[in-house]
């Protein structure tokens, strides 16, 4: 396991160092595959489908924000189809615009999902999309995933109906018929609705399960999501004709789950580890700051378990109290200004008093060692009786002499101890350290936020 952690640490370090480059390269690869696939599906313009141009466009798009990357891809599709048919190109553009105006403008930051979905679907590997978006997105991620599915099926409908430019030129008079065929092929395709529904359900299920407060919520949600996806595809294929083999779907789903699991392994580190480079100035200096987030790699804690022959409940309580006491003392030593914001529990107070008291008693014992009197044998009984008698007399003196006899309650040892004078700095909230300054107080508030 340590080996895996080491690899993770190394990869994190590399990611921190070359954050910008890695992101740009990944974006470039995504756009390269997107443009390549588009040119393969609707590549009616040979000059636009040239590899050099695709590489140049991908390189340019890699530096754009996600929403503009989607826009670049849509414009590329439009220009490719425009060579074949103006009407179809305008229609496809209008469909994309409707998708944007109705849905995508509410999720501008998830534009990459809109591109990644059709790309992965064209590779016959769409199972990764809902699992990934469910794990790392929100419920709103359903929107880009569904739009990606729509983009994939509209392009497929265009390809199915316009095979070559020569063909479309020969059927110039039948442009309206081709338009209707494309829309029929696109809208009356049950596969599209099944895939969209499965994606939506999987994303929602994963988001809901991972938000539950339980151990391994992320891992469980991933498993549940994969199960729901497999089930959804099987039900969909039973009801409608779907173009996939169940075996391939099963393997693909499980493989996707593995990929997302690996991503999850890195996510908690990588998500916060992006290096920030900022520039600013004040009246004296120009600052060029590189802020590197601290990574707290969890070194495995060695837990020592004590196995005892017999264990009493009191001991357990004492140990718990001891831990609490240590925590409180540590927080006080660390300069926390209000370590006693929470009221002290009885066990904690008892433990703290015990920490202080035995030392004093030890010293007292050392000093008064000679004065110690040990009574043994029958004299002990007499001494005990004499002690009880004096105690009884004292109690009698406090009792009212007339009227009804008052009830006396037996005072247990614990209560006696609780009634002892508690050290003032523990017990009294008024004895807390001085009120911090306003600014410091705000600091604390921010920290708690």
């Amino acid at each position: 396991m340590m080996f895996v952690f080491e690899i993770r640490a190394k990869l994190t370090e590399i990611y921190q160092k070359y954050d910008f480059i890695i992101k740009t390269v990944l974006k470039f690869l995504l756009m390269f595959f997107a443009f390549s696939k588009i040119s393969k599906v609707v590549g009616y313009n040979t000059s636009l489908s040239a590899k050099v141009l695709i590489i140049a466009l991908s390189a340019f798009s890699a530096f754009l924000p996600p929403s503009l990357m989607v826009f670049a891809a849509v414009v590329y599709v439009f220009l490719q189809i425009l060579t074949a048919s103006v009407l179809i190109a305008v229609t496809v553009m209008m469909i994309f615009l409707v998708l944007y105006l109705f849905f995508l403008r509410f999720t501008p930051k998830e534009g990459l999902a809109v591109i990644a979905t059709p790309v992965l679907m064209s590779f016959g590997f769409p199972y990764l999309v809902p699992l990934f978006l469910g794990m790392f997105g929100s419920v709103l991620s359903v929107v880009p995933a569904a739009c990606g599915v729509v983009a994939f099926y509209i392009l497929r409908a265009v390809r199915n109906n316009i095979i070559t430019i020569d063909e479309i030129k020969a059927l110039k008079d039948q442009a309206l018929q081709i338009y209707m065929d494309i829309l029929d092929d696109f809208l009356k395709n049950p596969q599209m609705y099944v895939v969209m529904a499965v994606f939506a359900v999987v994303i929602i299920v994963i988001v809901l399960v991972r938000s539950l407060q339980m151990d391994y919520a992320f891992e469980i949600s991933l498993g549940v999501g994969t199960g729901v996806m497999i089930l959804g595809y099987i039900i969909g294929s039973l009801k409608y004709e779907m173009d996939f083999a169940i075996g391939a779907m099963l393997i693909g789903s499980l493989f996707s789950m593995g990929i997302v699991f690996v991503c999850l392994f890195f996510y908690r580190v990588l998500n916060y580890s992006a290096v920030e480079r900022v520039q600013f100035e004040d009246e004296r200096y120009y600052y060029y700051v590189t802020a590197v987030p601290k990574i707290t790699t969890g070194t495995p804690k060695k837990a020592i378990r004590k196995i005892l022959a017999e264990r009493r409940e009191e001991d357990d309580n004492a140990e718990e109290g001891e831990e609490e006491a240590i925590e409180a003392m540590e927080s006080m030593l660390a300069g926390n200004k209000s370590p006693y914001k929470k009221p002290l529990s009885a066990s904690l107070a008892k433990r703290l008093r015990k920490d202080v008291a035995p030392k004093q008693e030890d010293y007292a014992d050392e000093d008064d060692e000679d004065d110690e009197v040990v009574i043994k044998g029958p004299k002990a009984e007499q001494a005990g009786l004499a002690f009880l008698k004096t105690g009884f007399d004292k109690l009698k003196a406090f009792l009212p002499k007339k009227g009804k006899p008052t009830r006396t309650r037996r005072v247990t040892d614990e209560e006696e101890e609780d009634d002892e004078a508690v050290p003032s700095y523990f017990a009294e909230p008024s004895e807390e350290p001085d009120e911090p300054e306003e600014s410091d107080k705000r600091d604390e508030d921010e920290d708690y936020e």
């Binding site: 009407l87 229609t91 209008m94 469909i95 615009l97 409707v98 105006l101 109705f102 403008r105 509410f106 309206l176 338009y179 209707m180 829309l183 920030e276 900022v278 520039q279 600013f280 004040d282 009246e283 200096y285 600052y287 700051v289 802020a291 600014s439 705000r442 921010e446 936020e449």
Partner: protein
Amino acid sequence: MINTKKARLMTQCAIYEKHDGTDDLKIAKFFRADYIRLEVLKTIIGITVGYLFLLIMIIIYYLEFLIKNALQLNYKMLFMRALAYYILLIAAYVVFAVGRYSYLYMKSHKRLGRYYRMLGKIKKIAEEQEYEKELEEENWEEMQS
């Protein structure tokens, strides 16, 4: 001498400005109600345009049928139906937009509050530095005299 506390605060502010800050500062120019109204207006315009595109596509799809039955069609009924769908769509999106942009405004307001508090601290530190500088200058002048 660089004041590390100030540099740290300024870095945090700069990182915030780089990411959420740009949007938040734009939002902060508006009162809550004005911001929501503006976004709802944008949504209505967007949905209207999108709906028009949809209508155009539907009309082209049924163009042959429409031309054939141009004289028999009940245009008033068709128009009323299209209008009803439009109003329903707009109503749904307005409700969604009000909820969404209220939430976004609240979030950005919280973040901006924290940002302004940091700015306040930076200002305080800068004032302290200025005061120290003045004191140094006074001491220097006294020593000179």
